[in-house]
Symmetry: C2
Subunit: 356 residues, 2 copies
DNA sequence: CTGAAAGCGCTTACAG
DNA sequence: CTGAAAGCGCTTACAG
């Protein structure tokens, strides 16, 4: 009997007849509980529970002309980045709370096109889209706007400064946290290693840089700064150059965990013990940071996921868009809380900061 | 006019009347092209194209009692691993070729339960499931089997040795490739750093170890071996111990890219230049390897995705399961092909192998 | 507060 | 080879 139950899932009709009501009443219990007398409601709910009834996504989608799904573009930059999996994981975990499920999609191409968006839309597979790695000349916002399809972006929409349907981590606040932590830990001068402003994400580079400038200046610890791109080799060279200008007991706040890793390498090269001779804080809360026991500014992945999902949900509901793009607060994770103690101290080249 | 077209998507009725046929004929053109006269078919197809018609996923799902979707569990091990994003990316890219879309799901918990599987199933959201990180005592295969729901696993199903619905990389072949490459590159003795057999994935550890044993023995280059878990700190210590037993011009084949990174660190610690004094090959083709310019055995992610998707598709179609679990062939990516030259040589502590 | 009816967009036997 | 009909499982006006 168990297997026959499993084979054919209960429908709304099964629940209705089991509870002795019409199926419209069951639908009301689920969608407009207030319309139904409490006693009836409880009886229906009990049967829903007993039969394990859940409305069919397909039937509901067909009737409501809404898929209850959000397309999530996964392209090379997303999959190849350190934070991609964290964003995806948070979106996946948070989606049910917003009554939607995610549908990832993407070709193997680097540069996103609208072809896949068009196809998903035509098949009514999703109601809205989420994407990241926006850039100038990005064809996606234009196409979505033109077709009146809700969307939200992780990261600023450079191609459309007037749009507000985006969310990002507050990089300025993040670097303030980093500098404050380094000062509180007893380091002296705090330098900065970030990105050049002409990179594809200038506002992010700018925010983080200014966060360091503001905090370091107001605390009177501002030191030298440098820029590098997001590749390890050049970053190590840039870190090396920066270390030339710092002394023992100084520190470096970094625009990313990868850059912080480069600082670790540059420090190892000259025999500096990170956490004792040199303070380092990364940015992202990525696997790289955890693995190397790095102190890092953690992006608020769940908040970001909630904001993005809420943004598309509101657009769907009544066309509402946020009044402004959202810059969400990060948190600082000292090395000890990002990983096991054993990993922090057990090998020489890239020890974690242990100074209090 | 453009926007009104965009607003209401074309249905099968629009295509039918535009082509001057009944909607059943349109359905036949799409689902059983052979049943329709070529001239009629072409006319219908032209209208499909002109109107941008695609069958509604919801309507089709409702009618066919099939969601056309595969649930993909994303749990902590998946999101936190180096290869998780690569597997996910490959599945996402390959899904359309198998006429399905993916629906990622998962709680924030480490240990998977069947609750989410049950919910997805009841809502008819997916027809089948894909998951990874199988382990002994895993409740998922039992539940899926009991409920006759198709599934396939990335990685062996340790809890059910009799099941064949899984695929994995051929670790034995991978380590043969690694050893052959090191020998061809002119290194002498080839050591091995892998995992202990009591880890959660003993067959994987065993396969890779034996691949090294077999290749190194038959080529007469077998050296010392060691084991470590997948944490960087202990891995560096294990690598260090292994290097004690190797001399200049020797090499280490590794069970993972992370372990290879640990070898890089241990080598840097004692001033060995990897690629000149010491050969190193990693395993996975992960971001870690690319970033550090490591030579690595690349997992066949697209083949794995195709195999898994085909496996659930066949189960859905006629209950067919593979005759055996699949061990798919990896490929070897020398450092020069995994990243830009600049990253390979520009910093000292962890240079890439450059020896021919 | 509850019930009978229509319809979302498809596909699949079933006649012709 | 093509057409009229039924029905997948829901929800939402609409009457009662």
């Amino acid at each position: 009997m168990r297997s026959s139950t499993a084979r054919r899932r209960a429908t709304i009709i099964d629940v209705a007849s089991a509870a002795g009501v019409s199926r419209q009443t069951v639908s009301n219990v689920l969608n407009f509980p207030d319309r139904v007398r409490p006693r009836t409601r409880d009886r229906v709910l009990a049967e829903v529970d007993r039969l394990g009834y859940r409305p069919s996504t397909a039937a509901r989608g067909l009737r409501n002309q809404r898929a209850g799904a959000v397309g999530l573009e996964l392209n090379l930059p997303t999959c190849g980045s350190d934070i991609g999996p964290l964003v995806l994981g948070a979106l996946t975990v948070r989606a049910p709370a917003h009554d939607v499920h995610l549908v990832p999609f993407g070709d193997a191409e680097v540069f996103p096109t609208v072809a896949a968006y068009r196809d998903m839309t035509r098949r009514h597979l999703v109601d809205a889209f989420l994407f990241a790695d926006t850039h100038s000349g990005d064809p996606r916002p234009d196409w979505l706007l033109e077709n009146e399809i809700p969307f939200a972006a992780f990261g600023r929409l450079y191609s459309h400064p007037e749009l507000t349907c985006w969310a990002d981590v507050d990089g300025h606040r993040g670097l303030e946290l980093a500098v404050e932590h380094l000062v509180a830990s007893g380091y002296g001068t705090v330098g900065y290693l970030g990105w050049p402003l002409h990179l594809e994400d200038p506002a992010v580079a700018e925010d983080r840089h200014r966060g360091w400038v503001d905090a370091a200046t107001s605390l009177g610890v501002a030191g030298p700064s440098g820029v590098t791109d997001q590749q390890l080799g050049p970053a190590v060279e840039a870190a090396d150059a920066l270390l030339d200008e710092l002394g023992p007991g100084d520190a470096v706040a970094c625009a990313s965990d990868l850059i912080a890793l480069a600082v670790l390498y540059a420090a190892a090269r000259r025999g500096l013990a990170v956490g004792r001779d040199l303070g380092v804080v990364g940015f992202d809360g990525s696997l790289v940071a955890r693995r190397h026991g790095l102190t890092t500014v953690v992006q608020p992945y769940e908040d970001l996921a909630d904001h993005l999902l809420r943004t598309v949900h509101d657009q769907l509901l009544d066309g509402t868009v946020p009044v402004a793009g959202a810059l969400l607060d990060p948190t600082l994770a000292p090395s000890s809380s990002t990983d096991r103690e054993s990993e922090l101290t057990s090998y020489t080249p890239v020890p974690a900061p242990t100074r209090r």
